[in-house]
């Protein structure tokens, strides 16, 4: 019963926030930039003070195979979300493929620790509810920077709720899930150490760098690697819509 309410709320939030937004309208609009920058700075401070150092130690201390296993486990446990969103996007064959992948890794792969399906050549897909909404024609809504989680958007945020609901770990006692969630967070941060290092080195304005990279990555994912408008004619100088892929 509570679950239904949450789902309904998530869907309502997404549609209300996105009504009237046209497909792919992004440019440099950032209506919540003031708040976002504040949260970004807080996240950055927290990251530098606590999360990154922990992730660095974790990365140094943990053998690569173990880190791989941890990554595989959490990827697998959240894979039901991929399957459901495959179906919602009408990607039925992919849903079948992904179900097979999930079953194989969960059984032969010792509860997801080993990516057996990956070794057998089965591609790992990336779908979430935000991508589904994007596929259905919803624009970003508004760019958001969430505490700790970082870049997100009005369209992509509901996936936090739906993916949480579709994660089997959610239904296990919190004595187990909380440490696991921390492990998942640290592991993921460790996986992104190189990327953030490059960003910190290259970016003149890390906030807008992150925002732009996030948006491009979302477009890329929604269109499964083939975003539209790859024509150079869209590069107009000095103003105009810049849609460059």
């Amino acid at each position: 019963m509570g679950i239904h309410k949450i789902l309904a709320a998530a869907l309502a939030l997404s549609t209300v926030g996105l009504s009237g937004c046209t497909m792919g309208s992004k440019e440099d609009k950032d209506p919540l930039e003031g708040v976002n920058r504040v949260v970004y700075d807080v996240n950055d401070t927290l990251d530098k003070a606590l999360i990154k150092p922990v992730a660095k130690v974790y990365s140094k201390v943990t053998p690569k195979g173990v880190r791989m296993g941890v990554t595989n486990f959490f990827d697998n446990v959240s894979y039901l979300n991929v399957i459901v969103n495959d179906l919602l996007q009408g990607k039925f064959r992919q849903a079948g493929h992904d179900t097979g992948r999930f079953l194989l890794n969960s059984t032969v792969g010792f509860g997801g620790l080993f990516d057996v399906a990956g070794y057998s050549g089965m591609v790992k897909n990336d779908e979430d509810f935000g991508q589904t909404l994007g596929k259905w024609g919803f624009g970003e809504g508004a760019y958001l920077v969430l505490p700790i989680r970082g870049p997100n958007s009005l369209r992509d945020a509901p996936d936090l709720a739906t993916s949480w609901l579709l994660n089997p770990l959610t239904y296990v006692s919190s004595g187990v899930t909380i440490p696991l969630a921390i492990l998942s967070g640290v592991n993921e941060r460790a996986n992104y150490l190189e990327a953030t290092r490059i960003r910190d080195e290259a970016a003149l304005d890390p906030y807008s760098f992150t925002r732009e990279a996030y948006r491009q990555n979302r477009e890329y994912k929604i269109y499964d690697g083939n975003p539209p408008n790859q024509d150079l004619e869209y590069i107009e100088e000095p103003e105009g819509v810049l849609k460059v892929y």
Partner: protein
């Protein structure tokens, strides 16, 4: 008689064909290949050259293969028109310098890398997309798609590099217009010059480490 006609036809065909080739002009893949060759060169001689040497070696190639005046205008967005001519010039110089510095800093060692051209698509007379891959020593690939446009002399030059789906032009445009809007020209120039100085300092500090970890 028939043979002569055939001969004339054949000769005419050759001229027509070569005329078409001449009109086709240079290949958009040429500047990309030139850039890649130069990058491989500085990678292989990275330690011997050091940061300064790599910078000096790659600078002419980067300035020739990239169309910085056009890129600079795009990257400034609506702020370009409001700048004085001196300011525009100053910005373009710093921007080009930063781009060269980035290459000189990143490509600081050789570990079996190679570049592979995947596709070469001309979208119309003035725009082309050359898709390539950087193949690292361990087999991992980074996709590098170059968007090229003919400049005022009809020469193909790089306008944008899309690395693994991320457009460098869009990234820079988002950053620079944001800085211009909130802090202005002087602040942007200060940041550009600070970055260049940082690359130089890092280059001097890590002289001799020669790894490709920064790629």
């Amino acid at each position: 008689m028939r043979t002569i006609r055939r001969l004339i036809a054949a000769v005419a065909l050759v001229f027509a064909f070569s005329g078409a080739l001449a009109a086709d002009g240079a290949d958009p893949a040429a500047p990309v290949a030139e850039l890649h060759d130069a990058l491989l060169d500085i990678m292989k001689r990275a330690e011997a050259l050091g940061y300064q040497g790599r910078f000096a070696a790659i600078e002419p190639v980067v300035n020739e293969t990239f169309d910085f005046p056009a890129i600079g205008r795009i990257v400034m967005g609506k702020h370009w028109a409001g700048l004085a001519e001196q300011e525009q010039k100053g910005f373009l110089e710093a921007f080009a310098r930063l781009s060269v510095a980035t290459y000189a800093s990143r490509f600081d060692g050789y570990d079996g890398e190679s570049f592979r051209t995947v596709a070469n698509e001309k979208q119309n007379e003035n725009n082309a997309l050359v898709k390539t891959e950087l193949v690292k020593g361990n087999g991992e690939t980074v996709s590098l798609n170059y968007q090229l446009r003919t400049d005022s002399n009809g020469k193909w030059r790089i306008l944008n590099v899309v690395a693994d789906g991320i457009s460098d032009l869009s990234l820079k445009r988002a950053e620079y217009t944001s800085i211009m809007s909130s802090d202005g020209y002087a602040a942007l120039m200060a940041k550009l010059n600070a970055k260049i100085a940082q690359y130089e300092a890092d280059g001097a500090a890590t002289a001799g480490s020669g790894s490709t970890s920064k790629q």
